[in-house]
Amino acid sequence: METSKKVDTTGLMCPMPIVKAKKALDELKSGEIMEVISTDKGSLSDFQAWVKQTNHELLKHSEKDGVYTFLVKKN
């Protein structure tokens, strides 16, 4: 899957992962995909809720060794 932007929020705590993700998403065009990396354990439920609330699409999320990866498609 081709991503248009990668946002690395490693080491940042809530609310910064979503603040940065939102900023990046604002610069994307509709249909483009962004990858966000986070190490904040609260990220998963917050990303799911945020993407749903803002009507974008969470294509995929995964967790490995405490690192969360989210693929968000802009609507």
């Binding site: 705590m13 809530c14 609310p15 910064m16 979503i18 603040v19 939102k22 354990k41 609260g42 439920s45 917050d46 799911q48 809720a49 945020w50 609330q53 803002t54």
Partner: protein, 383 residues
């Protein structure tokens, strides 16, 4: 609001506890995502709370400002504290005064313990209840002549160490009424740290990986030289091993069998059908034969309204037989039906918590905190 707004202020979980207990009015803006906020919130008779996720306030806080009262303190809370500082800072910038954030967030709220004196025991002994207000867990410390016993200790063992030291007491015994499923026990750790003895009901301890002393009916444990007695009473139902304690012939520590406004659930080890009958026998036979003057001290409260003066949670056994809805159903078949129809959702991570309490897994502190997030949900009828 005036142009000169006060800066964002910090409120600790302890300060918030005192506000809740004094029933002071307080407006809370919970900025966690809606599912986390719906799962578990700060409650109190003076608390008014709204939930707006922080990610809805990234571009401005007008949506929040218009729902806040014009005056009075506003406390912003989130999971840890980052987002509440972020949103609180923006409210202050927008000119709102008297804005606070909760230090350490809901995690700190979940972990705060408030000690409350329940009563004096013979020869100068004392019984304290430790109210874990955010999660609804109750621990106890019995102190007599420089010795202490802690019952149903939660994992924040530093609080018990500090308190015992302040009272000039050494913790000699830690006891769990049962193998807990909603929170991680601090009993074993506390006993290891103080060189004390950890007591568990053997029927709940069949799969544990560590050494412990067997809590069995007839084995009286004493605290201090003049022997404040802790008499174990086998009282299965919430778990097969559940054991209550009669302390100083005056208090009945019921664990998760009997609460003030509800009764324990029998299903957290997956054996509801088997254990509901034990629960019935304990509540309608075993406890009923005990002196009704005993003061019931449970291991949980379910609703904030169960907290009385100073935050204490207790009731006379005889009064519970009059008012507790779980004690008004005399036919066993009706009781079985009532229990099975009113079982709430499981406590969060309850299987992992049981495994931890058996010593079979050893999650780090941070993971332990996450596992325990949420209400205790140990009673029938809890939401």
């Amino acid at each position: 609001m005036s142009a000169a707004a006060s800066p964002l202020q910090k409120m600790t979980a302890g300060e918030l506890t005192r506000r809740v207990l004094s029933k002071e009015p307080l407006f809370i803006l919970d900025v966690r995502n809606d599912s986390d906020a719906a799962d578990w919130q700060i409650e109190g008779e003076g608390i008014e709370l709204i939930n707006i996720p922080y990610f809805d306030l990234l571009e401005g806080v007008d949506a929040a400002l218009e729902r806040l009262p014009k005056d009075g303190d506003v406390l912003v809370v989130c999971a840890k504290e980052g987002s509440s500082k972020f949103v609180g800072g923006q409210l202050v910038e927008a000119g709102r005064s008297s804005v606070y954030y909760l230090e350490g967030g809901m995690k700190a709220w979940s972990e705060h313990l408030e000690p409350v004196l329940i009563g004096r025991l013979k020869d100068g002994g004392s019984l304290y209840q430790f109210v874990r207000i955010g999660k609804g867990c109750l621990s106890y410390m019995i102190i007599s002549e420089g010795e202490a016993a802690v019952i149903d200790a939660v994992r924040m063992t530093d609080v018990f160490h500090r308190f015992a030291a302040e009272q000039g007491a050494v913790i000699k015994h830690t006891l769990d009424t049962h193998l807990h499923a909603d929170h991680i026990s601090g009993g074993r750790k506390l006993a290891e740290q103080t060189g004390g003895t950890y007591w568990l009901p053997p029927k709940d301890a069949e799969e544990v990986t560590f050494d412990y002393e067997k809590l069995e009916e007839g084995n009286v444990i004493t605290v201090g030289n003049t022997s404040i007695e802790i008499q174990p009473v086998y009282s299965p139902g919430h778990t097969i091993g559940s054991t209550s304690f009669i302390v100083d012939n005056r208090y009945l520590l019921t664990g998760d069998i009997l609460f003030v406004e509800s009764i324990g659930r029998p299903d957290l080890a997956g054996k509801a059908e088997d254990w509901v009958g034990d629960l019935y026998t304990t509540l309608y036979d075993r406890y009923k034969s005990l002196p009704h003057e005993l003061i019931v001290l449970p291991a949980h409260f379910g609703k904030i309204t169960e907290l009385g003066e100073g935050g204490a949670v207790f009731a006379r056994l005889g009064d519970l037989y009059k008012h507790n809805p779980g004690l008004q159903i005399s036919a066993e078949a009706d009781f079985r039906r009532m229990v099975s129809e009113n079982l709430p959702e499981h406590p969060n991570s309850y299987q992992e918590i049981r495994q931890t309490n058996m010593g079979r897994i050893d999650p780090d502190e941070e993971r332990q905190g996450q596992m325990e997030i949420g209400p205790n949900r140990c009673a029938v009828h809890d939401k």
